[in-house]
Amino acid sequence: MGNWAVNEGLSIFVISALALARAPAACLNFNCMLILLPVCRNLLSFLRGSSACCSTRVRRQLDRNLTFHKMVAWMIALHTAIHTIAHLFNVEWCVNARVNNSDPYSIALSELGDRPNETYLNFARKRIKMFSRSLSSSMRMCACEAWSNSGLPVTMPTSQRKLRTQSNKNPEGGLYLAVTLLAGITGVVITLCLILIITSSTKTIRRSYFEVFWYTHHLFVIFFIGLAIHGAERIVRGQTAKSLKEHNPMECENKISEWGKIQKCPIPQFAGNPPMTWKWIVGPMFLYLCERLVRFWRSQQKVVITKVVTHPFKTIELQMKKKGFKMEVGQYIFVKCPKVSKLEWHPFTLTSAPEEDFFSIHIRIVGDWTEGLFNACGCDKQEFQDAWKLPKIAVDGPFGTASEDVFSYEVVMLVGAGIGVTPFASILKSVWYKYCNNATNLKLKKIHFYWLCRDTHAFEWFADLLQLLESQMQESNNAGFLSYNIYLTGWDESQANHFAVHHDEEKDVITGLKQKTLYGRPNWDNEFKTIASQHPNTRIGVFLCGPEALAETLSKQSISNSESGPRGVHFIFNKENF
């Protein structure tokens, strides 16, 4: 067992494992405080709005809240593991000391509290009686004899003491502690909750079975309540200040048999340390409670679905109106449909422009909830639906950092890969509205838009949008404003034949657009060089919403195709975190 005297004046009955358990406990206090904050999305929106003076880059960090939440969660798991393992050693050694299976010093310390007017140090108070199996070693018997000879008051005659020392087994003592002490019960329960939360939060489960993830995650309520009362029984003991004045552990360490007899070393008194964790977590718990109340209040606000459009390939568009709703380009909202599920909120990128008088989202039908919504909106029926039949919807948001940077360049390259094309719907529409309203004030003069996807099936509606923009631009004689390139990366031989046959036709066979679809992946080097030659001496913003690998490619290309001098073309890469 460790050295009681060695603990920076705290004079705690230290087994080296105790320090190893208290350190992660301190870290856990901090981490549990932090973990609730990144998921208060309304609080983050408020911070984002009030920090409008700070640069976008600073505000962008708030978009990474979920990554931070996960990091802190891993830290909590790690510290819980260390804390638990250290306390396992702690309990083992404390029980051993109690059942006299340890060194005399520890045994003597454990005896403190047995007699009246004494406070205990070792929290393992009870000796579990069991039948003995074998005679214990003579060493232990000798230790006991030594004490009784030294005059320490003993409650039992020596012969009976022998029987008790032989007859105690540890695991029962440890298990008994775990179920009788508050710290034990809460410890086991909240660790179990933590493990269940972690196993249901793995990527597979989260992506495929969102409901399991979401409902199991609510075990955090039990986690936090258990955490707050975990230290309430005060079983981690330290010598009281008053006792420290009378009994100096450094001096009295070796005179344990004389404690209470000599003046320098009266029997030391101990008290438990008050629980500290609640001080750390009460603030964030309150903030989170406010967050849930705000979400609830927002969900009670009336949202009217003005239009439901079914698009091919299992996509629906919901156009809605809500009083006081203000959005920016590139933001997203959380949507709840109580008819489908009372507790689930799901995020969707806004596909409408701020200039429109409604806001819209496009939803792909891929899981339980979206299918439920599909049916609730009557999309499975062919005939026209009455407005009053549409379900009630709750909307929270909008969230996310707006991508207003797009408007601060003269020329932009917008690259959307796969589902990343969705926020660009909002951007393109907004650009178009701004152009129509006040073309001269608009700094943006030219957009090069790249759309990469395996097949356009899932985004037919976006192709329709492009078609609309194309025809509108032709009408206003500004066909050159937007040039877009669609790359289908998932073609196969049979499709290739079809394309080859219709190569010469005026409109593209897949999208119906005037600009032809291209197949395979774009040659970025060529693209950048072409654009650079078209716009010499300009700053060109490059915006991507897509996978990391593509971000790397574009970032490198931006740097390598930018000229070094202050004049000359510069590509500035912005990765969007939609």
Partner: protein, 193 residues
């Protein structure tokens, strides 16, 4: 929750329980706790559970992400046939494995986690789920020339010279030898794009 396959979550939970059993067992054994042999058992049981649960089963709907390097264990687990396919057996097995570890405080967390995993497996079994191994798909060789049995005996038909001045594109001119060199139901050219 119509679409959920409980076995997926049970699998994650059981894998985590295996790791917790191993950790608890190492603590008990290395620390020479009293009755540390329960700890030794816990290590062995944990390793067994980890190996059994490592290969992910195939989902009924959608694609399943394999765990890294799981194909070796898939082969072994597949050998036991119905013993590993059936989730009732897995549920009972996990329940039995978890009991001895419950005698030691160091491993009791593993017991609780494995018992929960066993419960979820029972739920999965009740809903008729089964473990199917993820087989690697055989690589499809491109069937070049799969339909050509023998080389053509006639030269390819050519349209008259005037028609060749304006080539229109045609796909897949891989036609077999036609009946006659002049008669062509579909106009063909020698330009294949």
């Amino acid at each position: 929750m119509g679409q959920i396959e409980w076995a997926m979550w049970a699998n994650e939970q059981a894998l985590a329980s295996g790791l917790i059993l191993i950790t608890g067992g190492i603590v008990a054994t290395a620390g020479h706790f009293t009755q540390w042999y329960f700890g030794a058992y816990s290590i062995v049981a944990g390793v067994f559970v980890c190996l059994l649960e490592y290969p992910r089963g195939k989902r009924k709907k959608g694609s399943t992400m394999e765990r890294c390097g799981q194909k070796y264990m898939t082969a072994v687990v597949k050998l036991f046939g119905p013993l590993t396919r059936n989730y009732y057996i897995r549920a009972i097995l996990h329940l039995l494995l978890s009991v001895p570890a419950g005698f030691l405080l160091a491993t009791i967390l593993g017991t609780a986690c494995l018992a929960i995993a066993s419960g979820i497996y029972l739920l999965a079994a009740v809903r008729g789920e089964q473990w199917t191994p993820i087989e690697p798909k055989p690589r499809e060789r491109p069937h070049v020339g799969g339909t050509i049995k023998q080389p053509p005996s006639n030269p390819p038909p050519r349209p008259p010279a005037e028609a060749r001045k304006k080539p229109s594109e045609e796909a897949e001119a891989a036609e077999g030898p036609s009946a006659g060199p002049q008669d062509n139901p579909i106009p063909v050219t020698d330009e294949i794009v």
